[in-house]
């Protein structure tokens, strides 16, 4: 439905002056917003801008401290999600609220407020899922489904309750580009039927393609409203971050000797819900960044544990600086000059109840912090202070405990720590996940600087834009297999998207063939 279609309708939901305070932060400050039937309304903002808090209040998960919520011209106090659902509000969470060991219909039955007999529920699930182009099998177990399929289950679960307002919290962060298009079709169809949609995101392109109107939040306050399709990305970004966005620059550079070579790496996953690695080949050279794209749950975690040494493999499968290292543990690999930033910050990247300085010691012990078994507190302190300063880590000083930092700030500290250990080879998983735009830029630039100093870097990320911006070469991981790598300039989002769904040649000779093909195109262009 276009702008004119609903412009004359009465608003379905009106928020006025919503304020929510937490002990240390004001999450929402005097936020107002209104949405009409059939409108797709974007709520745009950086991480920590207060988008999720606002949605939680609409969905009855938390209560506002001040302000009013008006639903169909009536003031309402939404006390619980069940009440929100009865009113006709549905929400699809960013982190799915599904039970892995249960089937699709069991998951849906649990969330319905009125019990529906199984015999009736399954056909209804099939009916709704077909109507909106969201195929799901009611009898499948959730843990066997891909992330995209799980999202479908969440959406179908909401649709079964015939919502008048659907809240989507960062729905595309886990989808392939093709799946995003399918999702948009479904959402447009819902809107055409009169359902209002609140669409939370920080991806500007998507918002401009999909949404009719937008409210931009910054630091918990409304920093502007806009009609996204009349705006440029830069304009929206300015409202979102309150300044100009710096660009990363990747100057072409000759890659040198091989620092990491993975050959036919296969590893069965010990976790029944995990992904097994299958015949992975990849090479990272000195002075280049290899980006690995892929939808989460396709073996990224397993690849990371195999490369870092948390899980061992036959020695010859992984060569680090020319040395077979598959059977080396993480400490031995670090001794060779490898550093890594795991995806999981608390618990893997840092020890939550220990101070930043102590966390620096964990991986930096070799950098003069320990001599003959004695810790040198001054060196340790200086190092962590240096990291805090260079990476603008917001914290109460080097003695604050890791768990007290926000996800983005802790990530800055961990990336800072690992880069300042002067690695020869660095592996980074989800470098900017949950990090605000400004800090993300800082982290990306730090990686590029390292590359320019000749460090070999492997980046595993779900953010395609990021990988296109900082990678010298790009590969895709899908279902535990890694695609051949290509230069970002020689591929397209569409091709990477196809690869992300697992469609690429997986045999060595296919790889050789495609590598040749790329050489030829490169030559032809030259």
């Amino acid at each position: 439905m276009d702008q004119s279609g609903f412009a004359n309708l009465k608003p379905r939901l009106v928020l006025t002056g919503i304020t929510k305070r937490y002990p240390s932060v004001v999450a929402n400050d005097d936020v107002s917003l209104s949405i009409r039937p059939g409108e797709i309304h974007a709520v745009l903002g950086e991480n920590g801008a207060g988008k999720s808090t606002l949605m939680k209040m609409i969905y009855g998960v938390t209560k506002p401290d001040a302000g009013t919520i008006m639903w169909n011209d009536q003031y309402e106090t939404i006390a619980a999600p069940a009440q929100a659902r009865r009113m006709g509000i549905g929400m699809v969470f960013q982190h799915f609220s599904l039970f892995e060991t249960l089937t699709v219909w069991e998951n849906i039955a649990l969330a319905l407020d009125e019990p529906v007999p199984t015999a009736k529920l399954a056909p209804r699930i099939t009916e709704v899922s077909e109507k909106y182009g969201l195929p799901v099998d009611p009898y499948r177990l959730v843990h066997s489904m891909s992330v995209g399929e799980r999202q479908r289950v969440e959406i179908v679960r909401c649709l079964l309750q015939e919502p008048k307002l659907l809240i989507m919290d960062e729905p595309t962060s886990v989808l392939t580009p093709q799946a995003v298009l399918t999702l948009f079709k479904t959402l447009r169809r819902l809107a055409a039927e009169g359902c209002s949609i609140l669409y939370i995101s920080h991806k500007l392109d998507e918002i401009r393609a999909l949404c009719d109107t937008a409210t931009v939040l910054r630091g918990g306050r409304v920093s502007g409203t806009a009609i996204p399709r009349n705006e440029t990305n830069e304009g929206l970004a300015r409202m979102m971050i309150g300044g100009e966005l710096a660009e990363c620059r990747l100057t072409p550079r000759e890659a040198k000797e091989e620092r990491l070579k993975v050959e036919r790496l296969s590893l069965a996953s010990p976790d029944p819900f995990g992904t097994s690695l299958k015949e992975i080949d990849l090479t990272v050279r000195s002075g280049e960044i290899l980006g690995i794209a892929g939808v989460s749950g396709n073996g990224q975690k397993e690849l990371m544990t195999a490369l870092s040494g948390e899980r061992l493999s036959p020695a010859s499968m992984i060569k680090l600086l020319g040395q077979p290292a598959g059977n080396f543990n993480p400490a031995q690999r670090r001794a060779l000059g490898l550093t890594f930033v795991p995806e999981e910050r608390l618990g893997r990247g840092a020890v939550p109840p220990m101070s930043l300085t102590q966390n620096a010691l964990l991986t930096g012990a070799r950098k003069g912090m320990v001599q003959r078994g004695i810790i040198h507190p001054s060196v340790m302190k200086a190092f962590s202070k240096n990291v805090i300063e260079r990476f603008k880590v917001k914290c109460g000083g080097d003695q604050s405990v890791a768990s007290s930092l926000s996800g983005g700030n802790l990530q800055k500290f961990i990336v800072g720590r690992e880069t300042m250990l002067q690695p020869k080879m660095m592996i980074v998983a989800q470098p900017t996940w949950g990090v605000d735009v400004g800090a993300a830029q800082l982290i990306r630039q730090a990686l590029i600087d390292l590359r320019d100093q000749g460090v070999a870097i492997l980046v595993i990320s779900e953010e395609l834009d990021e990988l296109f911006a900082i990678s010298d070469r790009l590969a895709v991981i899908a279902d535990g297999r890694v695609s051949p790598s290509v230069k970002p300039a020689e591929t397209s989002i569409e091709q990477i998207g196809t690869w992300m769904s697992g469609k690429f040649g997986d045999r060595a000779d296919d790889r050789a063939a495609s590598a040749n093909a790329h050489l030829e195109t490169a030559n032809a262009q030259a």
């Binding site: 998960v61 938390t62 619980a80 999600p81 069940a82 659902r85 969470f93 609220s97 599904l98 039970f99 892995e100 060991t101 249960l102 069991e106 039955a109 649990l110 969330a111 019990p115 010990p270 976790d271 029944p272």
Partner: protein
């Protein structure tokens, strides 16, 4: 007389308390709570049941009192682990130690006293059938109720909506909370049910198996019940099979001792426990069997943020 029939009959009697305790614990663990206090609750149930029956002469009242006493103990466990979020393993162990001590203290004056044993019921016509009558229709009421309990728990976990909610909470309490299920309430009810069953299991020991009170008379059966839950991979059918298997081995070694087989009695007494360990090891040989069936949140405290 053929020794097989009495051996099977006594196997059933030996297995019954295990069935009560293990099925109760299954429901508790399926909700994500690990209560290691079964042994303690059984002993409290045993002494309470014995004392009540001794005073009133009614076995029914004895079982009822046993269940109530063990529920009270389980509520203490629930308050500590669910409200105060203490460590479930440590709290469960403390509960067992507490139960052992308290039951010995309370039962001091009851040791060695006689009580009327709960007698097997006779069904006119059926019990009189040779062999079959002895095998199937010559047990006390609690044996038949244990089978009803098995059917009930199986139905509850697989077919009922509340059972689905309970399993879901055991998988992921935070998700269940986010869709508006009361984790605390469900877990409390599960813990209380587990307590009641452990109490009945204890009373079965002191009112049926050896109709008297002896200090520490559960002799590790609470632990065996816990092992059965794991060995049965949290599935009622397998747990009941396991209970009869353990009961069978227990009785076999008693009969074997009676027949004077040239095997040291110490070795024979060890058999049921050894058999349990061996079966557990076989089951756990493939770690995925356990991982796939174990409730994902088992033993972890849940704290709702909102």
């Amino acid at each position: 007389m053929n020794p097989i029939v009495p051996m099977i009959a006594s196997t059933v009697v030996a297995a019954t308390p295990l069935i009560y305790a293990a099925l109760g614990e299954t429901v508790v663990e399926r909700s994500g709570v690990l209560n290691l206090g079964i042994e303690g609750m059984m002993l409290i149930g045993a002494v309470t049941g014995f004392a009540t029956t001794y005073a009133t002469g009614s076995a029914a009242l004895g079982f009822l009192a046993a269940a109530c006493a063990a529920v009270a103990l389980s509520l203490l466990f629930g308050f500590l682990t669910l409200n105060l979020q203490t460590n479930q393993v440590a709290t469960g162990l403390a509960l067992t130690l507490f139960g052992i001590g308290l039951s010995a203290f309370v039962g001091y004056n009851y040791a060695g006293l006689p009580v009327n044993r709960l007698t097997p019921i006779t069904i006119p016509g059926l019990t009189a059938i040779p062999v079959v009558g002895d095998l199937l229709f010559h047990y006390d009421i609690m044996v038949y109720l244990s089978i009803a309990l098995f059917v009930g728990v199986q139905w509850f976990l697989t077919k009922s909506r509340t059972g689905l909610t309970l399993r879901a909470i055991g998988e992921s309490p935070s998700v269940a909370h986010s869709i508006g299920k009361s984790v605390l309430k469900t877990r409390y009810l599960a813990v209380m049910f587990g307590g009641a069953m452990a109490g009945i299991a204890g009373a079965y020991l002191s009112l049926v198996q050896t109709p008297m009170w002896v200090e520490g008379m559960s002799a590790g059966k609470g632990w065996i019940a816990l092992a059965l839950v794991v060995f049965g991979t949290w599935k009622p059918t397998r747990i009941v099979v396991g209970a009869y298997l353990f009961g069978g081995v227990t009785q076999f070694q008693l009969f074997a001792q009676g027949f004077g087989l040239p095997i040291p009695t110490e070795f024979l007494s060890m058999l049921p426990y050894a058999a349990t360990i061996i079966v557990l090891v076989i089951i756990c040989r493939d770690p995925k069997t356990i991982l796939l069936n174990q409730p994902a949140s088992l033993g972890r405290s849940f704290h709702s943020a909102a």
